[in-house]
Assembly symmetry: C2
Homo-oligomer: 640 residues x 2
């Protein structure tokens, strides 16, 4: 963990090496394993996605018409299932996985090509519509699935398939290839190729990722050249008849408005942006490319100081599923796609690895425990695509979506949670997230196990237990979370004493010879925070959000006699109150409620203010809203 000026400071942790045993996350992963994966598999079957791999669709047939990005949904499910298999052997699940892999292998062409749409629906149109058709995006997800399956299970059945696909891409898009200079309108394949490079050691995959990233936004613009060659409006052309007139906007949509090294503002489709920046951070980490690193840091600053919801939601507009303007963070119409927050976790994790700085993990922690997991219901079977921060009571989760990116994306993130809890370097282990779990790692030449015990995210006490065959000297880095006022640390039974010093990187550093049986007790000073937004954010003016630990809270109408927007918080701040589940507390306390009763229905406008009466309010974690039916909701509360 010593400073190196350019390359990554940390090595990603294999998901197989971390077992999650957390009061909050354990049951969620169990739900994922026992319910969500099965439900999502059924959706893949019911919607025809899996059946399409038989390549039996013909024009006019009864089968649903395959879509260019159906493989991406299959791949994300495979990725999630693979992670689960990595820590929870499950013969039935493994059989499903093997069946899907066999179907994918059967759908692959002689030359390695794998995309049902361009095989049976639009043969001959392969790689002619990179801007719209998600062809390389789907390939990227397949590659990620192959890497994940191999990393988690040690098997190569899917890795072989996706390596043949990746080799085809190298031939087609590498130097001298027929489509050299091209890149995908939806980024994803770039970061997938870096992952494939890491698992195979084959440099050509890294090179192709860099080729894709650096081709993006250069002139002459590839999408214009492609459009000219193709002579048709493209897969989404009918949806955007005005694309030619609003060229800059549509280039920003997929981050191709400028070469990536010249980009300074996060723009366009939020998921696309996150996947691109993740690949840029990966490439900077692998190659020591300071230009890409500097671009990432600029873009990060822009995102987090101008365009990010307090929940870690990003992309305020449904219009472009993305960003619009600085400080445009409307609450009721917030798009804040679940996948975009997941993408933010990806990028933040990579920035933390690249820089070794805890500030990135603070954002990851916030996004993960709010914007991401709000995407799934408590029963693991209903999903939010959009995650507004206020509701008039009409919003609720859905079973599935035509564009089904979010549910399997959530699944793969939750299933791979372990890889975000820790990070390692040759002589250090960093604890990034305070989530009950056990890490197995090689550090300073020794194999160790590190067990983390906690009452759940945001708990004020964490105990770490070291198990090691032999003593070794290494650094234990404990993230000082932004949600704790202070951190205290005690080693081997000594009670935490005083406030531990926090380094410039945001970590408490314990460097010593660690031996089997060593324990570390960490205490956090955690309180309910009243958070205020920049005065430039119109939507939050005069409002306050409540946070405790990594959780952002909200009011739900179901707990109130007035709509959530009619609550006014006074001087008194709601305080933690244990819940039946006993894991994440609610916040309870007095506030004011405004109502005129029946008069509010009989007229719209009055010359008198509505009377306020004291009411008891209970704020619940944002991620848990809409689990008790539809009602009004507000994260940002009015303040007296």
């Amino acid at each position: 963990m010593e400073p190196t000026p350019t390359r990554a400071r940390r090595i990603p942790v294999n998901v197989r090496d971390v077992v999650v045993q957390d009061p909050f996350w354990g049951p969620r992963q169990e739900l994922l394993r026992t319910r969500t994966l099965a439900a999502q598999y059924d959706q893949l079957v019911a919607t025809g996605r899996l059946g399409a791999l038989a390549l039996t669709w013909t024009p006019g047939s009864e089968e649903p018409t395959p879509h260019p990005f159906w493989e991406s949904d299959i791949a994300k499910w495979l990725e999630a299932a693979s992670y689960v298999l990595g820590t929870h052997p499950d013969a039935a699940l493994e059989a499903k996985v093997d069946g899907v892999i066999a179907a994918l292998a059967g759908a692959q062409g002689e030359d390695g090509y794998l995309n049902v749409y361009f095989t049976v629906v639009a043969p001959g149109q392969r790689f002619t519509d990179l801007r719209d058709a998600h062809e390389l995006y789907s390939a990227g997800h397949l590659i990620e699935a192959g890497v994940a399956h191999h990393e988690a299970t040690g098997r190569t059945t899917l890795l072989v398939v996706v390596t043949r696909l990746a080799d085809l891409l190298c031939r087609e898009f590498g130097p001298g290839g027929a489509h050299h200079g091209g890149y995908c309108g939806h980024e994803e394949v770039e970061l997938a190729l870096v992952r494939l490079y890491r698992v195979t050691g084959e440099r050509r995959y890294l090179d192709l990722a860099l080729t894709f990233v650096d081709a993006r936004g250069t002139q002459p613009h590839y999408f214009e050249l492609e459009h000219g060659r193709r002579g048709t409006p493209g897969f989404f052309g009918e949806h955007f008849p005005q694309r030619e007139q609003r060229r800059r906007e549509f280039e920003e949509y997929n981050q191709s408005h400028l070469p990536v090294r010249e980009q300074t503002e996060v723009v366009g489709h939020a998921v696309r942006a996150m996947y691109l920046y993740s690949a840029m951070a990966d490439l900077a980490a692998e190659t020591g490319d300071d230009g890409l690193r500097a671009a990432c840091e600029r873009l990060w600053t822009h995102l987090t100081t101008r365009r990010m919801y307090v929940t870690g939601g990003i992309g305020d507009s449904r219009h472009n599923e993305g960003f619009t303007r600085d400080h445009a963070l409307p609450n009721e119409t917030a798009y804040a796609e679940t996948c975009a927050s997941i993408g933010l976790v990806f990028w933040a994790s990579r920035m933390a690895g690249l820089t070794g700085r805890a500030t990135y993990v603070d954002v990851l922690d916030r996004a993960l425990h709010n914007g991401v997991i709000a995407g799934v219901s408590a029963d693991g079977q209903r999903f939010f695509y959009e995650n507004p921060l206020a509701s008039d009571g009409t919003v609720e989760r859905a079973d599935w979506f035509d564009c089904a990116c979010c549910p399997p994306n959530l699944a793969r993130l939750e299933a791979s949670l372990g890889s975000y809890i820790y990070a390692t370097s040759p002589d250090a282990v960093a604890v990034d997230l305070y989530i009950g779990s056990t890490l197995t790692a090689d550090v300073a030449g020794a194999r160790i196990r590190l067990r983390q015990e906690t009452a759940g995210p945001g708990a004020d006490r964490v105990v770490l237990r070291v198990a090691a065959a032999a003593p070794a000297t290494w650094s234990l880095l404990l993230r000082a979370p932004s949600w704790a006022r202070s951190v205290s640390v005690g080693v081997n039974g000594g009670p935490p004493d005083g406030v531990a010093p926090v380094g410039a990187d945001g970590y408490v550093r314990l460097r010593r010879e660690w031996a089997d049986g060593d324990t570390v007790e960490i205490r956090f000073e955690v309180d309910v925070r009243r958070v205020h937004a920049s005065t430039l954010v119109a939507a939050d003016a005069g409002r306050v959000a409540l946070t405790h630990g990594p959780f952002v809270y909200c009011l739900e109408g179901i707990d109130l006699d007035v709509p959530a927007h009619a609550v006014v918080l006074g001087e008194s701040t709601p305080q933690p109150r244990a819940t039946p589940s006993g894991v994440v507390p609610d916040l309870a306390g007095p506030a004011w409620g405004e109502t005129r009763g029946r008069a509010d229905l009989d007229a719209l406008y009055f010359t008198e203010r509505a009377p306020r009466t004291e009411i008891a309010v209970t704020a619940v974690p944002y991620h848990s809203w809409n689990n008790r039916g539809r009602s009004t909701m507000a994260v940002w509360l009015r303040e007296a």
Copy 2:
């Protein structure tokens, strides 16, 4: 003005019989006459709308392709120009009008049909797509123009043309006609036919209007029958591929979800709704149809207690250019189409005529002086289509629109303003709006002139002067506006003394023998009102709007050091301050401004509230915003 149980209590005033001489409205009408009409005529030429009447378009020709509702833009301009000619003879304008009328006559078919699109672009498709193609809507505007031209100028050149068109409609859509049972997807022709009936006395036009109104929303649904016969998705089919799946929503869009007499909620496209309800009120007034009257009263209550902005803007969503849910009145994204407020003026005026109640005029007054005239810039040449009640500084008026309904609609309303100021019945004159003007009318058998002198809308003093050849006994009804705390009245030099009694109808009634030279002095107690919304309106929670007279006020960033949303109003209410123009006062006073300065740019979230400093604020009339460049704007101000 004696009560009659069903039929209209009042007779519409011919626009020719009122000359506007008002410090506020006079210059606006002058601008319309000298600039706007010419600019809009130029747009009709430049966009090809007038040229299309030559019927020279052929497939592949260089000419712009005519659109099915181009005639409606021409017609609204003709209507506006006719009103102007009614009180301001202008040879050049008359020549333009005559030229356009001649072109329309030339484009009319032998059988009376008049629509360029269905003559040259889609011949043979006449009346096959009533739902989408605006064909009867365009016909309705032509009929209105013909009536207006005749009423204002006494000439019949256009009336002859539109009567032939209306007769064709009677043949096609009346009993036994080939398209009997059909009605238009955009209401308008119904109210136009009532106007044509009033000016011609031909009962068949009234009957056809009633036929259209009563066919609407009946089963089997005409638009479904038509769709089946046509077998194509229709003119807007490509825009709404999901229309079949969301049938109820798309039926609500054009108010065909239920028979009109069963409708209880204002739904769908706001302009369509207003034109329908206007026709229903007209028919109730002409026929004494209590069912239609009751439906109108129910719908009015719903609109004004649940779905109307404080500015008289209506239709909150861009999505359907219309209504969504009760109390959904977002400010920054308010659609509040200029045409919809104009439609509200039409409907309110008819409801006032039907019932004789001032409450309808209160809404008319509010819409007219805010939601309607915000639609045009101070120079009369730029237009708002949407009228948000808050802006982040990116909103501004445009020169023209592809769908150019609003500018000429504004023109015809402003040009016909005189007809809204007064209403008459056989032995009464009602003063509805306090706008400087002179009315010529026959009342109680005598011709009188009534001159109204005021410093402008919302002024606290109005003088009325009667000129009459002979004394006569009739009632003078003075509306007690909702914006005045009280009304005092003095006759013939006696100073207004005490508070005049206001009748249940909302008018002060002076019944006496009026003689030449009689004067009435009216004093209003006018103050700045702090208006609060129903607590069910989330967007306005904790906020206050300022009104004075009929005007709603707003803050503009150009007058502030902080964005408008960062202003907090304290106990002190801004007070009227004379402006250089001297007509409508600004409101000025102290308030609080919130800012952290540079820090608000460097971070998004803080644990401390932003500091407040006292600032001086100036609120300007809402209609006048964005006349000094783009900046932030807010109608609803935060309240300490």
